[in-house]
Protein backbone atom coordinates (compact mmCIF):
# COMPACT_ATOMS: atom_id res chain seq x y z
CA UNK A 1 0.00 0.00 0.00
CA UNK A 2 2.81 2.30 0.94
CA UNK A 3 4.40 1.74 -2.48
CA UNK A 4 1.20 2.62 -4.29
CA UNK A 5 0.86 5.80 -2.28
CA UNK A 6 4.43 6.73 -3.06
CA UNK A 7 3.96 6.00 -6.75
CA UNK A 8 0.81 8.14 -7.02
CA UNK A 9 2.38 10.96 -5.03
CA UNK A 10 5.56 10.82 -7.12
CA UNK A 11 3.43 10.95 -10.25
CA UNK A 12 1.62 13.99 -8.88
CA UNK A 13 4.84 15.75 -8.06
CA UNK A 14 6.14 14.93 -11.52
CA UNK A 15 3.03 16.55 -13.00
CA UNK A 16 3.52 19.68 -10.86
CA UNK A 17 7.20 19.84 -11.78
CA UNK A 18 6.59 19.40 -15.47
CA UNK A 19 3.83 22.02 -15.43
CA UNK A 20 6.16 24.39 -13.62
CA UNK A 21 8.99 23.74 -16.06
CA UNK A 22 6.60 24.17 -18.96
CA UNK A 23 5.71 27.56 -17.56
CA UNK A 24 9.35 28.50 -17.08
CA UNK A 25 9.78 30.21 -20.42
CA UNK A 26 11.63 33.43 -20.29
CA UNK A 27 9.32 36.18 -21.51
CA UNK A 28 11.20 38.77 -23.40
CA UNK A 29 10.05 42.05 -24.83
CA UNK A 30 10.75 42.73 -28.43
CA UNK A 31 14.26 43.92 -28.80
CA UNK A 32 14.98 47.06 -30.65
CA UNK A 33 15.38 46.41 -34.33
CA UNK A 34 18.36 48.72 -34.56
CA UNK A 35 17.14 50.20 -37.83
CA UNK A 36 19.47 52.29 -39.94
CA UNK A 37 17.57 55.53 -39.61
CA UNK A 38 19.04 57.98 -37.11
CA UNK A 39 19.68 61.62 -36.36
CA UNK A 40 22.64 63.33 -34.75
CA UNK A 41 21.73 65.84 -32.06
CA UNK A 42 24.18 67.59 -29.73
CA UNK A 43 26.76 64.96 -30.66
CA UNK A 44 24.45 62.09 -29.73
CA UNK A 45 23.15 59.54 -32.23
CA UNK A 46 19.43 58.95 -31.75
CA UNK A 47 17.67 55.83 -33.03
CA UNK A 48 14.29 54.22 -32.54
CA UNK A 49 14.27 51.45 -29.96
CA UNK A 50 17.44 52.75 -28.30
CA UNK A 51 17.54 52.68 -24.47
CA UNK A 52 16.63 56.21 -23.46
CA UNK A 53 18.40 56.66 -20.14
CA UNK A 54 21.91 57.35 -21.45
CA UNK A 55 20.60 59.48 -24.31
CA UNK A 56 18.55 61.66 -21.97
CA UNK A 57 21.56 62.18 -19.70
CA UNK A 58 23.74 63.16 -22.64
CA UNK A 59 21.18 65.60 -24.02
CA UNK A 60 20.79 67.47 -20.72
CA UNK A 61 17.54 69.22 -19.80
CA UNK A 62 14.73 69.44 -22.34
CA UNK A 63 12.72 72.62 -22.85
CA UNK A 64 9.71 70.75 -21.51
CA UNK A 65 8.69 67.27 -20.42
CA UNK A 66 5.19 65.80 -20.43
CA UNK A 67 4.38 62.40 -19.06
CA UNK A 68 1.22 60.34 -19.48
CA UNK A 69 0.85 57.07 -17.64
CA UNK A 70 -1.04 54.25 -19.31
CA UNK A 71 -4.41 53.23 -17.95
CA UNK A 72 -3.33 50.07 -16.21
CA UNK A 73 -0.43 51.67 -14.35
CA UNK A 74 2.02 49.54 -16.31
CA UNK A 75 4.08 52.21 -18.00
CA UNK A 76 4.11 55.69 -19.43
CA UNK A 77 4.63 57.72 -22.56
CA UNK A 78 6.95 60.69 -22.06
CA UNK A 79 7.38 63.57 -24.47
CA UNK A 80 10.66 65.53 -24.26
CA UNK A 81 10.70 68.78 -26.22
CA UNK A 82 14.19 69.99 -27.22
CA UNK A 83 15.04 73.04 -29.29
CA UNK A 84 15.03 71.21 -32.64
CA UNK A 85 13.28 67.93 -31.99
CA UNK A 86 10.77 66.04 -29.89
CA UNK A 87 11.70 62.71 -28.33
CA UNK A 88 8.93 60.30 -27.41
CA UNK A 89 9.99 57.73 -24.86
CA UNK A 90 8.10 54.64 -23.75
CA UNK A 91 8.68 53.70 -20.13
CA UNK A 92 7.89 50.27 -18.76
CA UNK A 93 9.12 47.99 -15.97
CA UNK A 94 11.83 46.84 -18.36
CA UNK A 95 13.23 50.32 -18.88
CA UNK A 96 12.76 53.29 -21.17
CA UNK A 97 13.24 53.27 -24.94
CA UNK A 98 13.03 55.90 -27.65
CA UNK A 99 9.75 55.34 -29.47
CA UNK A 100 9.57 58.26 -31.89
CA UNK A 101 11.68 61.23 -32.98
CA UNK A 102 10.07 64.29 -34.56
CA UNK A 103 12.31 66.97 -36.06
CA UNK A 104 10.90 70.48 -35.67
CA UNK A 105 13.36 72.71 -37.55
CA UNK A 106 16.18 72.61 -40.11
CA UNK A 107 19.00 72.54 -37.56
CA UNK A 108 18.92 68.76 -37.30
CA UNK A 109 19.30 66.37 -40.24
CA UNK A 110 18.80 62.67 -40.79
CA UNK A 111 21.81 60.38 -41.07
CA UNK A 112 21.82 61.08 -44.82
CA UNK A 113 21.78 64.82 -44.36
CA UNK A 114 18.12 65.58 -45.08
CA UNK A 115 16.49 68.31 -43.06
CA UNK A 116 13.26 70.30 -43.08
CA UNK A 117 13.19 72.62 -46.10
CA UNK A 118 15.06 70.25 -48.45
CA UNK A 119 13.48 69.38 -51.75
CA UNK A 120 11.57 66.19 -52.41
CA UNK A 121 14.13 65.34 -55.10
CA UNK A 122 16.97 65.59 -52.60
CA UNK A 123 15.16 63.09 -50.37
CA UNK A 124 14.78 60.64 -53.27
CA UNK A 125 18.41 61.15 -54.22
CA UNK A 126 19.52 60.33 -50.68
CA UNK A 127 17.11 57.49 -49.89
CA UNK A 128 16.41 56.06 -53.34
CA UNK A 129 13.06 55.03 -54.67
CA UNK A 130 10.29 55.85 -52.31
CA UNK A 131 8.61 52.88 -50.65
CA UNK A 132 5.27 54.53 -50.13
CA UNK A 133 3.95 57.91 -51.15
CA UNK A 134 0.54 59.54 -51.20
CA UNK A 135 1.76 62.86 -52.52
CA UNK A 136 1.93 64.51 -49.14
CA UNK A 137 4.52 62.22 -47.58
CA UNK A 138 7.42 59.94 -48.49
CA UNK A 139 7.74 56.85 -46.31
CA UNK A 140 10.87 54.67 -46.08
CA UNK A 141 11.15 51.44 -44.10
CA UNK A 142 14.07 49.64 -42.48
CA UNK A 143 13.29 46.61 -40.36
CA UNK A 144 10.62 47.69 -37.86
CA UNK A 145 11.38 51.35 -38.37
CA UNK A 146 9.97 54.01 -40.60
CA UNK A 147 11.30 57.33 -41.74
CA UNK A 148 8.56 59.70 -42.86
CA UNK A 149 9.05 62.95 -44.75
CA UNK A 150 6.01 65.22 -44.84
CA UNK A 151 5.98 67.08 -48.16
CA UNK A 152 4.44 70.48 -48.83
CA UNK A 153 4.94 72.37 -52.10
CA UNK A 154 7.68 69.94 -53.11
CA UNK A 155 9.69 70.51 -49.95
CA UNK A 156 10.15 68.60 -46.70
CA UNK A 157 7.91 70.16 -44.04
CA UNK A 158 8.31 67.52 -41.35
CA UNK A 159 10.48 64.51 -40.51
CA UNK A 160 9.55 61.62 -38.22
CA UNK A 161 11.36 58.46 -37.22
CA UNK A 162 9.10 55.85 -35.66
CA UNK A 163 8.26 52.20 -35.34
CA UNK A 164 5.92 50.73 -37.92
CA UNK A 165 2.39 51.13 -36.59
CA UNK A 166 0.88 47.88 -35.36
Amino acid sequence: MKRSWMAVFALGLAVILSLSLFGCRKTEDNEASGGHFSVQYKGVTLEIGQPAEEVLKALSDPVSKKEIGDCGGLGAQVRYDYSSLILYVLESKDGAVIDQITLTDDLVATEKGICIGDSQDKVKEAYGNVIQSDGSRLVYTSGDNQLIFEIKDGKVSGIDLMQITQ
Binding site: S4, V8, I16, F22, C71, G73, Q100, I148, T165
Partner: protein
Protein backbone atom coordinates in the same frame (compact mmCIF):
# COMPACT_ATOMS: atom_id res chain seq x y z
CA UNK B 1 -3.97 -4.54 -1.35
CA UNK B 2 -7.04 -4.99 -3.49
CA UNK B 3 -7.82 -3.03 -6.61
CA UNK B 4 -10.60 -0.98 -5.00
CA UNK B 5 -8.25 0.34 -2.35
CA UNK B 6 -5.64 1.21 -4.93
CA UNK B 7 -8.15 3.13 -7.01
CA UNK B 8 -9.39 4.93 -3.90
CA UNK B 9 -5.86 5.93 -2.97
CA UNK B 10 -5.14 7.13 -6.48
CA UNK B 11 -8.34 9.21 -6.56
CA UNK B 12 -7.54 10.71 -3.16
CA UNK B 13 -4.01 11.56 -4.23
CA UNK B 14 -5.23 13.21 -7.43
CA UNK B 15 -7.77 15.21 -5.43
CA UNK B 16 -5.11 16.37 -2.97
CA UNK B 17 -2.78 17.38 -5.79
CA UNK B 18 -5.60 19.21 -7.60
CA UNK B 19 -6.48 21.05 -4.41
CA UNK B 20 -2.86 22.05 -3.86
CA UNK B 21 -2.54 23.29 -7.44
CA UNK B 22 -5.83 25.18 -7.24
CA UNK B 23 -4.79 26.83 -4.00
CA UNK B 24 -1.40 27.75 -5.47
CA UNK B 25 -3.13 29.22 -8.50
CA UNK B 26 -5.44 31.32 -6.33
CA UNK B 27 -2.40 32.60 -4.46
CA UNK B 28 -0.21 33.54 -7.40
CA UNK B 29 -2.66 35.16 -9.83
CA UNK B 30 -2.57 39.00 -9.70
CA UNK B 31 -5.18 40.47 -7.35
CA UNK B 32 -5.31 43.89 -9.05
CA UNK B 33 -5.61 45.96 -5.90
CA UNK B 34 -2.94 48.60 -6.62
CA UNK B 35 -3.96 48.72 -10.31
CA UNK B 36 -7.68 47.91 -9.98
CA UNK B 37 -8.28 48.16 -13.73
CA UNK B 38 -7.67 44.42 -13.93
CA UNK B 39 -10.39 43.54 -11.43
CA UNK B 40 -13.38 45.17 -13.07
CA UNK B 41 -14.39 42.70 -15.76
CA UNK B 42 -14.99 39.95 -13.21
CA UNK B 43 -17.21 42.17 -11.06
CA UNK B 44 -19.97 42.24 -13.66
CA UNK B 45 -21.33 38.77 -12.94
CA UNK B 46 -22.61 39.70 -9.47
CA UNK B 47 -24.73 42.49 -10.97
CA UNK B 48 -25.51 41.03 -14.39
CA UNK B 49 -29.04 41.52 -15.69
CA UNK B 50 -31.60 44.28 -15.77
CA UNK B 51 -29.54 46.94 -17.56
CA UNK B 52 -30.98 49.01 -20.38
CA UNK B 53 -27.61 50.35 -21.47
CA UNK B 54 -24.24 48.56 -21.56
CA UNK B 55 -21.05 50.54 -22.18
CA UNK B 56 -18.02 48.77 -23.63
CA UNK B 57 -14.55 50.05 -24.36
CA UNK B 58 -11.30 51.19 -22.80
CA UNK B 59 -10.49 53.60 -19.96
CA UNK B 60 -12.53 56.27 -21.73
CA UNK B 61 -15.73 54.50 -20.67
CA UNK B 62 -14.83 53.33 -17.19
CA UNK B 63 -13.44 56.77 -16.27
CA UNK B 64 -16.09 58.85 -18.05
CA UNK B 65 -19.45 57.20 -17.53
CA UNK B 66 -21.05 57.00 -14.08
CA UNK B 67 -24.00 54.58 -14.00
CA UNK B 68 -24.94 55.96 -10.56
CA UNK B 69 -25.47 59.42 -12.06
CA UNK B 70 -27.47 57.98 -14.97
CA UNK B 71 -29.71 56.30 -12.43
CA UNK B 72 -29.98 59.21 -10.04
CA UNK B 73 -30.74 61.80 -12.73
CA UNK B 74 -32.70 59.77 -15.28
CA UNK B 75 -33.56 56.38 -13.81
CA UNK B 76 -31.39 54.73 -16.48
CA UNK B 77 -30.16 51.30 -15.44
CA UNK B 78 -26.71 50.78 -16.96
CA UNK B 79 -23.38 49.02 -16.52
CA UNK B 80 -19.88 49.73 -17.82
CA UNK B 81 -18.02 46.67 -19.10
CA UNK B 82 -14.79 48.57 -19.61
CA UNK B 83 -11.17 47.63 -19.02
CA UNK B 84 -7.71 49.08 -19.57
CA UNK B 85 -6.79 49.19 -23.27
CA UNK B 86 -9.81 47.06 -24.13
CA UNK B 87 -9.34 46.16 -27.79
CA UNK B 88 -12.34 46.16 -30.13
CA UNK B 89 -12.45 42.37 -30.49
CA UNK B 90 -12.41 42.10 -26.70
CA UNK B 91 -15.37 44.51 -26.58
CA UNK B 92 -17.08 42.35 -29.19
CA UNK B 93 -16.65 39.11 -27.24
CA UNK B 94 -17.53 40.77 -23.93
CA UNK B 95 -20.70 41.97 -25.58
CA UNK B 96 -21.43 38.53 -27.00
CA UNK B 97 -21.09 37.19 -23.47
CA UNK B 98 -23.19 40.01 -21.99
CA UNK B 99 -26.09 39.19 -24.32
CA UNK B 100 -26.25 35.76 -22.66
CA UNK B 101 -26.96 37.44 -19.34
CA UNK B 102 -29.25 40.25 -20.44
CA UNK B 103 -30.81 42.10 -23.36
CA UNK B 104 -30.03 45.80 -23.09
CA UNK B 105 -31.86 48.31 -25.27
CA UNK B 106 -28.63 50.06 -26.20
CA UNK B 107 -24.91 49.36 -26.32
CA UNK B 108 -22.46 52.26 -26.27
CA UNK B 109 -18.97 51.71 -27.66
CA UNK B 110 -16.14 54.21 -27.23
CA UNK B 111 -14.31 54.49 -30.54
CA UNK B 112 -10.73 55.25 -29.43
CA UNK B 113 -9.87 51.54 -29.28
CA UNK B 114 -10.35 51.31 -33.05
CA UNK B 115 -6.81 52.62 -33.46
CA UNK B 116 -5.47 49.16 -32.60
CA UNK B 117 -5.64 46.46 -35.24
CA UNK B 118 -3.41 43.83 -33.65
CA UNK B 119 -2.87 42.38 -30.15
CA UNK B 120 -0.80 44.77 -28.06
CA UNK B 121 0.33 43.49 -24.69
CA UNK B 122 -0.12 40.48 -22.48
CA UNK B 123 -0.49 42.59 -19.34
CA UNK B 124 -3.46 44.47 -20.81
CA UNK B 125 -4.94 41.29 -22.28
CA UNK B 126 -4.88 39.75 -18.83
CA UNK B 127 -6.74 42.72 -17.35
CA UNK B 128 -9.66 42.04 -19.67
CA UNK B 129 -9.57 38.30 -20.24
CA UNK B 130 -8.71 36.81 -16.85
CA UNK B 131 -11.85 38.27 -15.29
CA UNK B 132 -14.18 36.71 -17.88
CA UNK B 133 -15.98 33.53 -16.92
CA UNK B 134 -15.19 30.54 -19.12
CA UNK B 135 -17.38 30.41 -22.20
CA UNK B 136 -16.95 30.20 -25.96
CA UNK B 137 -16.76 34.00 -25.92
CA UNK B 138 -13.78 33.96 -23.58
CA UNK B 139 -12.16 31.23 -25.63
CA UNK B 140 -12.52 33.26 -28.84
CA UNK B 141 -11.48 36.48 -27.11
CA UNK B 142 -8.23 34.86 -25.99
CA UNK B 143 -7.54 33.47 -29.46
CA UNK B 144 -8.09 36.90 -30.98
CA UNK B 145 -6.05 38.75 -28.36
CA UNK B 146 -2.89 36.72 -27.79
CA UNK B 147 0.43 38.27 -28.72
CA UNK B 148 3.07 36.03 -30.32
CA UNK B 149 4.69 35.34 -26.94
CA UNK B 150 1.48 34.20 -25.28
CA UNK B 151 0.06 30.67 -25.04
CA UNK B 152 -3.56 29.62 -24.73
CA UNK B 153 -2.76 27.09 -22.03
CA UNK B 154 -1.47 29.91 -19.79
CA UNK B 155 -4.99 31.33 -19.77
CA UNK B 156 -6.54 27.94 -18.98
CA UNK B 157 -4.03 27.34 -16.16
CA UNK B 158 -2.82 30.77 -14.97
CA UNK B 159 -0.50 28.92 -12.57
CA UNK B 160 1.71 28.16 -15.56
CA UNK B 161 2.12 31.86 -16.26
CA UNK B 162 2.31 33.22 -12.74
CA UNK B 163 4.08 30.41 -10.85
CA UNK B 164 7.20 32.54 -10.48
CA UNK B 165 5.22 34.90 -8.24
CA UNK B 166 5.30 32.22 -5.55
CA UNK B 167 8.47 33.81 -4.19
CA UNK B 168 7.02 37.33 -4.36
CA UNK B 169 3.71 36.80 -2.59
CA UNK B 170 2.48 39.63 -0.40
CA UNK B 171 -0.12 39.81 2.35
CA UNK B 172 -2.55 41.02 -0.34
CA UNK B 173 -2.25 37.70 -2.18
CA UNK B 174 -3.41 35.79 0.89
CA UNK B 175 -6.03 38.35 1.90
CA UNK B 176 -7.76 38.38 -1.49
CA UNK B 177 -7.08 34.83 -2.64
CA UNK B 178 -10.68 33.68 -2.20
CA UNK B 179 -12.69 36.87 -2.19
CA UNK B 180 -12.02 40.51 -2.93
CA UNK B 181 -14.22 43.58 -2.48
CA UNK B 182 -15.44 45.30 -5.66
CA UNK B 183 -13.23 48.09 -6.95
CA UNK B 184 -15.81 49.64 -9.27
CA UNK B 185 -19.29 51.11 -9.04
CA UNK B 186 -21.29 49.28 -11.73
CA UNK B 187 -18.10 49.24 -13.79
CA UNK B 188 -17.15 52.88 -13.12
CA UNK B 189 -13.72 53.32 -11.53
CA UNK B 190 -13.92 56.32 -9.25
CA UNK B 191 -11.14 58.92 -9.08
CA UNK B 192 -11.54 61.95 -6.84
CA UNK B 193 -8.10 63.54 -7.19
CA UNK B 194 -7.78 66.85 -9.00
CA UNK B 195 -4.73 67.55 -11.17
CA UNK B 196 -5.56 70.45 -13.51
CA UNK B 197 -4.69 70.51 -17.17
CA UNK B 198 -2.32 73.47 -17.33
CA UNK B 199 -2.21 73.99 -21.08
CA UNK B 200 -4.54 72.98 -23.86
CA UNK B 201 -3.35 70.08 -26.00
CA UNK B 202 -2.96 71.02 -29.63
CA UNK B 203 -1.88 67.93 -31.48
CA UNK B 204 -0.98 64.29 -31.20
CA UNK B 205 2.08 62.46 -32.45
CA UNK B 206 2.62 62.05 -36.17
CA UNK B 207 1.35 58.67 -37.34
CA UNK B 208 2.65 56.59 -40.20
CA UNK B 209 -0.88 55.78 -41.28
CA UNK B 210 -4.11 57.54 -40.40
CA UNK B 211 -6.39 54.79 -41.64
CA UNK B 212 -8.15 52.95 -38.82
CA UNK B 213 -7.07 49.29 -39.12
CA UNK B 214 -9.35 47.17 -41.28
CA UNK B 215 -9.44 44.37 -38.69
CA UNK B 216 -10.69 46.83 -36.05
CA UNK B 217 -13.37 48.21 -38.35
CA UNK B 218 -14.45 44.64 -39.18
CA UNK B 219 -15.01 43.93 -35.50
CA UNK B 220 -16.98 47.15 -35.20
CA UNK B 221 -19.21 45.94 -38.01
CA UNK B 222 -19.56 42.54 -36.31
CA UNK B 223 -20.51 44.36 -33.13
CA UNK B 224 -23.18 46.27 -35.03
CA UNK B 225 -24.59 43.03 -36.45
CA UNK B 226 -24.47 41.39 -33.02
CA UNK B 227 -26.45 44.27 -31.54
CA UNK B 228 -28.94 44.12 -34.39
CA UNK B 229 -29.42 40.39 -33.84
CA UNK B 230 -30.05 40.97 -30.14
CA UNK B 231 -32.38 43.92 -30.60
CA UNK B 232 -30.00 46.50 -29.14
CA UNK B 233 -29.16 49.84 -30.68
CA UNK B 234 -25.42 50.40 -31.12
CA UNK B 235 -24.36 53.93 -30.23
CA UNK B 236 -20.83 55.23 -30.77
CA UNK B 237 -19.14 57.74 -28.50
CA UNK B 238 -15.78 59.47 -28.11
CA UNK B 239 -15.04 60.66 -24.58
CA UNK B 240 -14.23 64.37 -24.23
CA UNK B 241 -10.60 63.77 -23.27
CA UNK B 242 -7.95 64.38 -25.95
CA UNK B 243 -4.34 64.28 -24.77
CA UNK B 244 -1.28 64.00 -27.03
CA UNK B 245 -0.66 60.40 -26.08
CA UNK B 246 -4.27 59.40 -26.80
CA UNK B 247 -5.10 61.89 -29.53
CA UNK B 248 -8.27 61.66 -31.59
CA UNK B 249 -7.22 62.60 -35.12
CA UNK B 250 -9.44 64.40 -37.64
CA UNK B 251 -8.81 61.59 -40.12
CA UNK B 252 -10.21 59.05 -37.63
CA UNK B 253 -13.18 61.30 -36.95
CA UNK B 254 -14.01 61.39 -40.66
CA UNK B 255 -13.83 57.59 -40.94
CA UNK B 256 -16.13 57.09 -37.95
CA UNK B 257 -18.60 59.72 -39.16
CA UNK B 258 -18.71 58.05 -42.57
CA UNK B 259 -19.22 54.61 -41.03
CA UNK B 260 -21.93 55.87 -38.65
CA UNK B 261 -23.73 57.61 -41.48
CA UNK B 262 -23.56 54.57 -43.76
CA UNK B 263 -24.91 52.27 -41.05
CA UNK B 264 -27.36 54.79 -39.66
CA UNK B 265 -25.78 54.79 -36.19
CA UNK B 266 -25.70 57.65 -33.71
CA UNK B 267 -22.20 58.90 -32.97
CA UNK B 268 -21.41 61.40 -30.22
CA UNK B 269 -17.97 62.98 -30.19
CA UNK B 270 -17.84 64.84 -26.89
CA UNK B 271 -14.47 66.54 -27.54
CA UNK B 272 -15.95 69.68 -29.13
CA UNK B 273 -18.81 69.69 -26.60
CA UNK B 274 -16.73 70.14 -23.43
CA UNK B 275 -17.95 73.68 -22.82
CA UNK B 276 -21.58 72.73 -23.36
CA UNK B 277 -21.16 69.76 -21.00
CA UNK B 278 -19.60 72.10 -18.46
CA UNK B 279 -16.25 70.39 -18.13
CA UNK B 280 -13.67 72.54 -16.38
CA UNK B 281 -10.16 71.21 -17.04
CA UNK B 282 -8.96 72.86 -13.84
CA UNK B 283 -11.17 70.73 -11.64
CA UNK B 284 -12.60 67.83 -13.65
CA UNK B 285 -9.53 65.70 -14.36
CA UNK B 286 -7.29 63.65 -12.06
CA UNK B 287 -4.30 63.45 -14.40
CA UNK B 288 -3.95 66.75 -16.21
CA UNK B 289 -6.55 66.06 -18.88
CA UNK B 290 -5.89 62.45 -19.84
CA UNK B 291 -8.98 61.18 -17.98
CA UNK B 292 -11.95 62.74 -16.23
CA UNK B 293 -12.23 62.51 -12.45
CA UNK B 294 -15.56 61.81 -10.77
CA UNK B 295 -16.65 65.45 -11.02
CA UNK B 296 -16.06 65.54 -14.78
CA UNK B 297 -17.52 62.06 -15.30
CA UNK B 298 -20.70 63.03 -13.44
CA UNK B 299 -21.09 66.08 -15.70
CA UNK B 300 -20.62 64.00 -18.85
CA UNK B 301 -23.04 61.36 -17.55
CA UNK B 302 -25.68 64.01 -16.88
CA UNK B 303 -25.26 65.34 -20.41
CA UNK B 304 -25.20 61.91 -22.07
CA UNK B 305 -28.07 60.61 -19.93
CA UNK B 306 -30.35 63.35 -21.29
CA UNK B 307 -29.42 62.32 -24.83
CA UNK B 308 -29.96 58.63 -24.12
CA UNK B 309 -33.41 59.36 -22.81
CA UNK B 310 -34.56 61.93 -25.35
CA UNK B 311 -32.97 60.59 -28.55
CA UNK B 312 -32.80 56.88 -27.76
CA UNK B 313 -35.87 56.42 -25.56
CA UNK B 314 -34.09 54.69 -22.70
CA UNK B 315 -36.78 54.36 -20.02
CA UNK B 316 -36.86 55.83 -16.53
CA UNK B 317 -37.12 52.85 -14.16
CA UNK B 318 -37.27 54.72 -10.86
CA UNK B 319 -40.92 53.83 -10.39
CA UNK B 320 -40.17 50.08 -10.58
CA UNK B 321 -39.82 48.80 -7.04
CA UNK B 322 -37.42 45.92 -7.66
CA UNK B 323 -35.07 47.83 -9.94
CA UNK B 324 -35.23 50.83 -7.67
CA UNK B 325 -34.33 48.77 -4.61
CA UNK B 326 -31.36 47.23 -6.42
CA UNK B 327 -30.13 50.63 -7.47
CA UNK B 328 -30.62 52.08 -4.01
CA UNK B 329 -27.96 49.67 -2.77
CA UNK B 330 -25.64 50.68 -5.58
CA UNK B 331 -26.26 54.39 -4.93
CA UNK B 332 -25.42 53.93 -1.25
CA UNK B 333 -22.17 52.18 -2.17
CA UNK B 334 -21.34 54.90 -4.68
CA UNK B 335 -21.90 57.74 -2.21
CA UNK B 336 -19.99 55.92 0.51
CA UNK B 337 -16.97 55.38 -1.72
CA UNK B 338 -17.04 58.98 -2.92
CA UNK B 339 -17.01 60.31 0.64
CA UNK B 340 -14.27 57.87 1.60
CA UNK B 341 -12.04 58.75 -1.36
CA UNK B 342 -12.56 62.47 -0.86
CA UNK B 343 -11.35 62.11 2.73
CA UNK B 344 -8.14 60.28 1.69
Amino acid sequence: MNLKKRILIAVCAILVITLILSFLQLLVVPKYRSNPEGAMIGEYYDQAGGHDVIFVGDCEVYESIVPATLWEEYGISSYVRGSAQQLVWQSYYLLEETFRYEKPRAVVFNVLALKYGTPQSEAFNRMTLDGMKWSTSKWKAIQASMTEEEHFLDYVFPLLRFHSRITQLTAEDFQYAFDAPAVSQSGYLMQTNIVPMTEAEEEGRTLSDYTLPESAMNYLEQMRLLCEKNGAELILMKAPTNSWAYWWYEEWEEQICTYAEEKNLSYYNFIPLCEEIGIDWNTDTYDAGVHLNVYGAEKLSRYFGALLQSAHHIPDRRSEAETSARWQERMDAYRKQKIQLEKE
